[in-house]
Amino acid sequence: MAIDALEGTRQITEEARAQRHDQLVPTLNDFSQELTTLNLGPTHPATHGIFQNILQMDGERIVSGVPTIGYIHRAFEKLAERKPFYQITTLTDRMNYCSSPINNLGWHMTMEKFLSVSVPKRAQYIRVIMMELARISDHLICNSILGMDTGAFTGFLYLFQEREKIYEIYEEVCGARLTTNMGRVGGMERDLTPVAIEKLRKWLKEFPAVMREFEIMFNRNRIFMDRVVNVGPISAEKALNYGFTGPNLRAAGVDYDVRVMNPYSSYEDFEFDIPVGTKGDTYDRFIVRNEEIWQSLRIINQALENLPEGPFHADAPHFYLPPKEAVYKSMEALIYHFKIVMGEIDAPVGEVYHAVEGGNGELGYYLVSDGGRTPYRLHFRRPCFIYYQAYPEMAVGTTLSDAIVILSSMNVIAGELDA
């Protein structure tokens, strides 16, 4: 029996060998005309996420590229049609997992707009602080990884320490680090604790020095600039046509920022600048992100200094969970708790679009409700899904090493790309 099986294997191998001998791989005689097909991805250390690009290479030059996406598609829009509104938060933070609080709070703001709940100032300011922290951590990852892709590992190591500290602040605010599930419809789930404020103040004091160090290392670094200046430029018209938003669009010279154009969560109270680039190349995107980190710090400082006193959530018992102690003692709290957890809140019939400035662009939620316990339709406007389609156009004509740098400067997050 054992010998038979071995014999069978041998036969199969020999047949396969014979076949391959018959079918030589056809090649052109003129090697200068020959194109190579290169699979960049789906799992490749330099793509920082699971997506594939099938590249046609002429030597080191890219002739054409076809992106394939969807490797981690989890059907969030379909899942959202079955989940009660408050359970959708956990879907949102799995989209752009580098800045989950923005996704979470953006969804809560969509619900608040939809239910006409007004959130107290303190909660809005806490949200601003958390969202700007998330933006900083998002940009830190993007820029330090861009540095890593050009061969500078040190910046990455230094900045990841800082990201770690941001995650510790998240932990103090919501109990989680990566998929934060932060905030609730109507406010935050808890007030800023003294420990959180202390950690935040400590970080605000220490971080600028690290950031300056990072900028000294990169911003005018000859080797780095040679790798990124004039690499993957995109004009403002093209960027708009491709639906670019966020730092990528601003690097191309369009000063569109949702925080300024359609302020939400009291962004109109803060003073900050919108950095813009001129050429929309990789260097501009890098510099715009760095500058946005400084502006985010400005906003956090202002919000923390002017943090209003008062409640940290709206007085909206239909949507905001009562404190646990009250649930055990009071009938009303128990009823509300039960209704909210069972998803029995009274949602109006209607549709709403709400956009926030995410880590990499306009993150929009389009909600259609038929009055049921779940959305009738929920569409996420995922910024990097829309702008990633410009990648082939930006990469064609460049070398493979430039293509990697362009990809990394676009801040494509696989979770958001595939939703």
Binding site: I69, K113, Y256, M342, G350, V352, G364, R373, Y387
Partner: protein, 183 residues
Amino acid sequence: MAPETAPETAEAPAAAPTENQQVLALLHKLFGADSFTDVSEPYGLLTATTTREKIHGIIAGLQQDEELKFHFLTTLCGIHYPDQLNRELGVIYHLHSLVHNIRLRLKIFFPIADPVVPTLSDLYSAANWLERETYDFYGVIFSGHPNLIRILNVEDMDYHPMRKQYPVEDGTREDKTDLFFGR
């Protein structure tokens, strides 16, 4: 079934309604008042329904219009209302004029048996993948699209999963039936 009764919120800026009215008047002037039905302003966002025959012309006109300058396609997505006879499937476009900061939502509905609508990918490059996604999810055929294949799901999938006849969970399961709340 189509939601139209959304209330105005306090958050919507006070100037928005008049601005929307101006945009609507311009729309009527440019494309004819009969092009738009079901005009409403849920949460301050001007919403109108038009037909698939006119949608390409309207959006091209809006993009090229010197006054309105809707240069930006925010997003487009599909929707499925199984109960609306001959208007089962829909595509919803969100446009944004960055110059004037006006958003506009346009909807079209068409029968599920004949889900062919013109593509916008010749106007906005951003529409390319969004339309592929809508095709993937709802089976809307965008005529004139350069590469209308599935984008997020596998190529050999033989149905369009976001249509309402496909529940998230197996419909034959009984252990999750909630007899008390009737769902």
